[in-house]
């Protein structure tokens, strides 16, 4: 019994020798010549962002002007880089249904934009955490080209790139 007790005490004291584990493979004990060490604390912040796009816009006879916004938040970029958001329209800013169509206009931050190509509507530079653009959709609902009743639609694509 005494032997067992002695063994347990030996193991206990052996394990309780003061030692500090630092970086991989580096151990400081009371017998070490140097009693200091270094550890590295780090975090790799990845490039991320959150973008909120307008889901849909529905005109009516009583609502011919609609305001929406595009927001970019929680932006983390590499130093010196820029986040750009472009807008393009599937039907060149025209709501279509079969052969019929109804035109509409889009102002970005209250300025007209070209309808024939992609257009940059928002730029967020590194260091900035957010940005937004105001989108004003309007139409005079001239229905002379709308041959038939039904839903006339267009689809917008927002392209995000980091340059």
């Amino acid at each position: 019994m005494k032997k067992w007790f002695a063994c347990i005490l030996t193991v206990f004291f052996a394990l309780s020798v003061p030692s500090v584990s630092l970086a991989e493979g580096e151990t400081i004990t009371q017998d070490s010549q140097e009693n200091s060490g270094n550890i590295t604390v780090g975090y790799n912040a990845e490039v991320t962002y959150t973008v909120t796009i307008p889901a849909s816009v529905t005109f009516s006879d009583t609502e011919k002007e609609i305001e929406r916004s595009l927001q970019v938040s929680d932006v983390v970029l590499n130093e010196g880089s820029v986040l750009n958001v472009n807008i393009s329209s599937l039907n060149h800013f025209t709501m279509v249904r079969n052969e019929g169509y109804i035109d509409y206009d889009l102002l970005v931050n209250y300025h007209e934009i070209p309808k024939d190509d992609q257009y940059t509507i928002l730029t967020v530079a590194a260091g900035e955490s957010s940005g937004w653009a105001i989108l004003n959709f309007s139409t005079d609902l001239q229905k002379e080209h709308a041959q038939y009743a039904g839903n006339y639609t267009d689809t917008l694509t927002f392209t995000v790139s980091i340059d």
């Binding site: 991320t48 973008v51 995000v160 790139s161």
Partner: protein, 202 residues
């Protein structure tokens, strides 16, 4: 056997008639007890069904609440919530929330790779998302589809995908095309987003 036959038999004999009456009383008692048990069983079943209906959906939120002064307080109807979501202008103004990044790192020479395609919880009850990984070609409209997801519910993500083909080691220009769909019966597609990324294969 007829009723008259039973009556005539009882009338002719004295003591047996008394015994029969007691037996009838006993039978009646048993019937009453049986009926009472049946009624209790039915009431219990009805109460159980009623409780189950009230506890479904948003808990007891849909149950009418009695006010101390009498009358019933108005509560939100859980069925009306989803039907109104897509027509409510305030909700539509919220838009679709999409998480983006500038790169995606995958393993070379294998079709099964890690990914991180997620639908943020902010889109809850509003939008499903689908993800398409496109490898850019030479022209601006030229691309090859490497992967297409199904509908991803809000708060969920895809972390493993199977590509249409293996890629060699290198850095490729790619686009993650995200197409949201309204969570209505028609699953109407909305405006969408293209996120240009570096596809790092190593």
């Amino acid at each position: 056997m007829t009723d008259s036959g039973i009556c005539s038999g009882i009338g002719q004999k004295g003591k047996p008639m008394k015994g029969k009456r007691q037996k009838d009383k006993g039978r009646k008692g048993k019937r009453i007890v049986f009926l009472l048990l049946l009624v209790l069983l039915l009431l219990g079943t009805a109460a159980g069904i009623s409780l189950m209906r009230h506890s479904r959906g948003s808990g007891n939120a849909s149950a009418p609440v009695k006010r101390p002064g009498g009358g019933v307080a108005l509560v939100i109807d859980p069925d009306a919530e989803s039907g109104l979501s897509y027509q409510d202008e305030a909700v539509l103004e919220q838009g679709v929330v999409i998480a983006g990044r500038d790169s995606m790192t995958i393993a070379a020479d294998t079709k099964k790779v890690k990914a991180d395609f997620r639908n943020p919880e902010e889109n809850a009850k509003l939008y499903y998302l689908t993800f398409e990984l496109r490898l850019c070609g030479n022209g601006s409209q030229d691309y090859e589809v490497l992967y297409t997801s199904g509908l991803v519910e809000p708060g969920k993500r895809i972390d493993r995908i199977t590509l249409s083909r293996e890629l060699e080691q290198g850095v490729y220009e790619a686009v993650v095309h995200v197409q949201p769909y309204c969570m209505n019966e028609e699953r109407t597609p909305t405006n969408n987003i293209d996120m240009r990324i570096k596809l790092i294969v190593g």
